[in-house]
Structure formats: C-alpha cells, structure tokens
C-alpha cells in the first residue's frame, strides 16, 4: 500500500495541486500572474465550444463503449469457455496484444493506406464493382474515429472481463443446464452477473480513454473535429496555462462523475470484499 500511496502523493496529488492553483491565476500572452480568480472557469463554462466538445466526446464514448463491450465480452467468452488449452488461450491473448507494441502513432498513420481514397478497401470495392466512386466516409469522418477507438480500446474491455470470467466456477454451468436453462438464459442469468465487475472496470477504462483522447480525434477525423484535450493542447501551445488548467480540472471532475456513475451500477470494491 505504501508504494501506491507514495506514487499517488508525489506524482498525482502534488502536481495536480499545481494545476488547480494555476487554474485560478490571471494571465496574458506574456505572463502568468498568481491570483485567486474564477475568470478562467467562467471563460470555459460560458463558452459554447465547451458544450459542443463534451457532447461530441460523450457521444464518441458511448459508441465506443457499446462496440468494445460487445466485442470484448464475446472475445473473452470465447477465450475462457471455449479454448480448452490454457496455453493456447494465453497465446491467442498475446496475438491480440502484439499490435500494441507498434507505437500508436504509427498505427494511426497506417489507417490512411487502408481506408483512404486509394486505400486497400476502396481499391477492392472499386475492383469488384461494388461501388463506382471511392467511399469518402471511410476516412476523416466520425466513422473512422469510432473505428479507430474500437480498434485501440477493445483490449481494455477484454482483459478485465477475461479475468472476471476465469473466476466463474464451471460447475455452475452444469447446475444451470440441469435446472433446464438454455445457453442464452445461462449467459444472461449466470455469466453476465458474475462478471459484472469486469464489465464495469472495462467500461471505466474505455470511457476514460476516449474522454482523455487527443491524438485519435486529431488524426482520424482529418482535423474536422476537436476533442476536449486537443483544445487544451492548443491552449498550451501558446502558453495559456491557466485556461488549460481550468479546462483540465473541469474535465477531471466530469470524468470522475462518469466513473462514479458506473461504480454506482456495479460497486467493484464491494464485489471484491464480499467474497468471504
């Protein structure tokens, strides 16, 4: 516990204290003036832009959450209950991890040759005569942003759900089958409730990742969208630190609220402690 506490105090609490302090400072283009003023918060909260950004990003979060949950749950279910050799399960799991060892930056760039006007997919569609014109919406659109999120973040759903599922006692399946429940009923009434902590944790990861993203939106929307963090980044580029700090504080509060809503549905700590 002590190392965890130390890391959190030194590298989270202390620097965030700076951020919170700076969010109350005055500033102009050339200097930051210590003060205690709410003007930065007022600026952020009264800007129409802020709401647009949050609506966009929450919408992206929901879409991504939905798709990653479906895919993540199915994949985890397959690996836990259908792959009988644990070594093969670990091997398949690693196959899902390997692409992540190539930097995200490179993998983002590589969508262009796949989804672009002259990319592999459009070339295939044109060659087979499915379409006459290259499909533009494949790249630089909300579609490509969500595809990319799902691509990057599904693993964060698979891992916790996989671990929850591994803990399920398999005799329960037999019991359920004996009691005459169908596969579908077993899934809904036995498996899902028993891995709700994994689902909740995966959801926390995915929502946090999307809300904090700046790179995927920037690249995959072709710059036709801004995210909360990319707007913050633009502030920092020209040293509007106090404004960015206020933005950061608000973002943190909102995402913590989103996380606690998830925790209200599934109290993972209680799940953990109740196994007596």
């Amino acid at each position: 516990m002590a190392p965890l506490l130390a890391v959190l105090l030194v590298f989270v609490v202390a620097p965030l204290a700076f951020v919170v302090a700076v969010s109350f400072f005055h500033y102009d283009n050339f200097a930051i003036i210590p003060a205690f003023s709410f003007e930065n918060y007022a600026d952020v909260l009264t800007a129409h832009l802020t709401y647009e950004l949050y609506v966009t990003m929450i919408w992206f979060s929901l879409l991504t959450w939905f798709f990653t949950l479906i895919i993540g749950f199915t994949v985890a279910y397959f690996l836990v209950f259908h792959v009988r050799n644990p070594l093969i399960a670990i091997g398949l799991f690693l196959v899902c991890t390997v692409p992540f060892w190539t930097s995200n930056v490179i993998r983002m760039i590589s969508w262009l040759p796949l989804l672009g006007k002259q990319g592999l997919i459009n070339s295939a569609l044109l060659a087979t005569g499915v379409t006459r014109q290259p499909l533009q919406f494949l790249l630089f659109s909300d579609f490509s942003v969500v595809v990319s999120y799902v691509h990057l973040f599904t693993i964060f759903m698979i891992v916790p759900i996989f671990n929850s599922m591994s803990r399920i006692d398999r005799t329960l399946f037999e019991a359920a089958a004996d009691a005459g429940s169908s596969r579908w009923q077993t899934l809904l009434h036995v498996v899902v409730p028993l891995c709700k902590s994994g689902i909740a944790l995966g959801s926390i990861f995915v929502v946090t990742l999307v809300m904090g993203d700046f790179y995927v939106v920037k690249v995959m929307s072709g710059g036709s969208r801004a995210s909360i963090v990319s707007a913050m980044y633009d502030d920092i580029s020209t040293l509007l630190f106090p404004h960015a700090a206020a933005n950061a504080v608000i973002l943190m509060i909102i995402v913590v609220i989103m996380v606690s809503l998830i925790l209200r549905v599934v109290d993972v700590r209680k799940e953990l402690a109740s196994q007596r």
């Binding site: 989270v12 969508w111 902590s197 913590v256 953990l272």
Partner: protein, 281 residues
C-alpha cells in the same frame, strides 16, 4: 488438463469465427504496415507500392535520415520493464489489501481513479514543473517513470480487482489450517491461482508504458522515449522507416512469444511426465 473430449458445440465455431474477424480487424492496418515497409527508396506511406527493397530496414539501423530511433528504443524498453515490474508488485499488493475494508480505503480508491482520469499532458507539465522547482533532474528513469506509473498503476490495480473478485478465500484458509506461513500462502496458493491475471497486468504495464505519450511528453527530460521520437519525426519528412520499425517489432514479438509458449509447453509436458499436475487443472 481437459483434452478435446466430445464434439464441440456450434457456438464454438461461431465464436471462433467472431474471434478470427476481430483479429483480422486488429491486424488490418498492420498488414499495410508490413507490405509498405518493403518499398524502395522512393517509398511513401500509402499505396501504390513504389519499388521493392529492404532499404527502410537498413535505414532503421543506420539512421542517416531519421531521428534517433535506436537510442529512443534503448530507453523505452528498460523503462517499460521497470514500469511493468513496479506495476505488477504494487497492483498485486494493492489488490490483496483492498479485499478488506480499511480506513481511507475509499479516499485511496478515488485517488486511483483521479490518477487514471487526469489529463496526461497537463499532469506531465505539473510533474515537470515540480521537478524543476525542487531542483531535481528530469529523466526517463525519474520523472517519466513516476508519470507513467500514475497511468499504469490504476490499470493494474483495477484489473487485480477483477482477478481477486470471486477469489475464494477458503483456499487460503485451508492452507493456513495446514500450517502454511503467509509467504508460503502467497507463493504456493494465491499466486498460482491468479497467475493469468498477473500476466495480464504485466502485459498492460509493459504495453501502456511502451506506448505512453501524453504523460511522458514533459517528463522525459533531455532525451526522448520512442513514442516522443516518432511523434516529433512526423513534423518533418516521414518515411516508411517507421513502418519498418513496426514490421520488425511485430516479427520480433511473434518470435519471442512463439519461443516462450513452446518452452512452457515443453516444460509442462516434462513435468506432467514426472509428477502429478499442480494447480487448478
């Protein structure tokens, strides 16, 4: 261990197909990377292929035109290993401790959540500023290490929540009744059961660190980690050399994984030959 006893249900084939589709989706862009890395010196980042050669692999080694990729890798890998080790140790300990309610537990838990959701770039600036004010030198192994832990620890700890959730404590109690000490219980009972979870946390720790960008940007001091180097390279002429890097990384990973899994399979077969299987199978 169960072997293929009896016919597999239709759901197996449906789910296996689904899994295959997911893997295809995961590797779609990677395949472009593999193909395009074998272009000639005129190569671009998009199709059509411009010549075929190993030019960009040679460039990766000689680094005449690019930034210091090899130097960046030589920092990123040790950093990822340290982060991985620390993440596993702290997460397992934390996961065990959180099984009991303790004073300040809720506060600590929410501190972990804040650590997870804090905007990385801003947090990194805060950490960098703090090191500057305290007169501490910022390096990849000091400030960047700490910054990355604020990212990997929440992941590790929360995954351990999923691992320890539903963990049946009667195993521990049984071991204690049989006279096992605390260390023995941890080593012989707890760890073998949660081993897949620990592997997952280790993989996450390594991967998240190796890919970390936002928190590292202002904390890695005067030298870059790999993601920073690659990102800064994109402000200039970018060449398929980064694709060559992706191809080498993937090929290398598959060789290591293949070797490790075969080794484990071999060891297991020998062990099963000699003694009764240990563990939960």
């Amino acid at each position: 261990m169960l072997t293929a006893a009896g016919r597999r249900p239709w759901t197996f084939y449906a789910l296996a197909a689904f899994f295959a589709l997911y893997v295809a989706f995961l590797y779609g862009p990677m395949i472009c990377i593999f193909i395009l890395s074998f272009q000639g010196p005129q190569g671009a980042l998009v199709f059509p292929m411009r010549g075929v050669s190993l030019h960009w692999f040679a460039e990766l080694v000689t680094q005449t035109e690019t930034g210091d990729i090899l130097g960046a890798i030589s920092r990123s890998i040790p950093l990822a290993i340290i982060v991985m080790a620390a993440t596993v140790a702290v997460s397992v300990a934390g996961g065990l401790a959180f099984r009991d309610r303790f004073r300040g537990g809720a506060a600590l838990f929410y501190a972990v959540i804040v650590s997870l959701v804090a905007p990385g770039y801003v947090l990194g600036i805060g950490i960098g500023l703090m090191f500057q004010l305290l007169g501490l030198p910022a390096h990849w192994y000091s400030s960047a290490l700490g910054a990355q832990l604020t990212w990997t620890l929440p992941f590790g700890l929360l995954i351990m929540f999923a691992v320890f959730g539903r963990f049946n404590r009667s195993y521990e109690e049984a071991a204690r009744d049989l006279g096992a000490g605390a260390g023995q219980i941890l080593r012989l009972v707890v760890i073998p059961i949660v081993l897949p979870g620990i592997i997952a946390v280790a993989l996450f720790g390594f991967t998240l660190s190796y890919d970390e960008f936002a928190r590292t940007l202002q904390t890695s001091g005067s030298t870059n980690t790999l993601p920073l180097e690659i990102w800064s390279m994109t402000t200039n002429v970018t060449s398929p050399v980064i694709y060559a890097l992706g191809t080498v990384t993937t090929a290398f990973s598959f060789i290591v994984i293949g070797a490790a899994l075969s080794a484990i399979a071999l060891i297991q077969r020998r062990r099963y030959g000699r003694a009764l299987p240990v563990g939960r199978h």
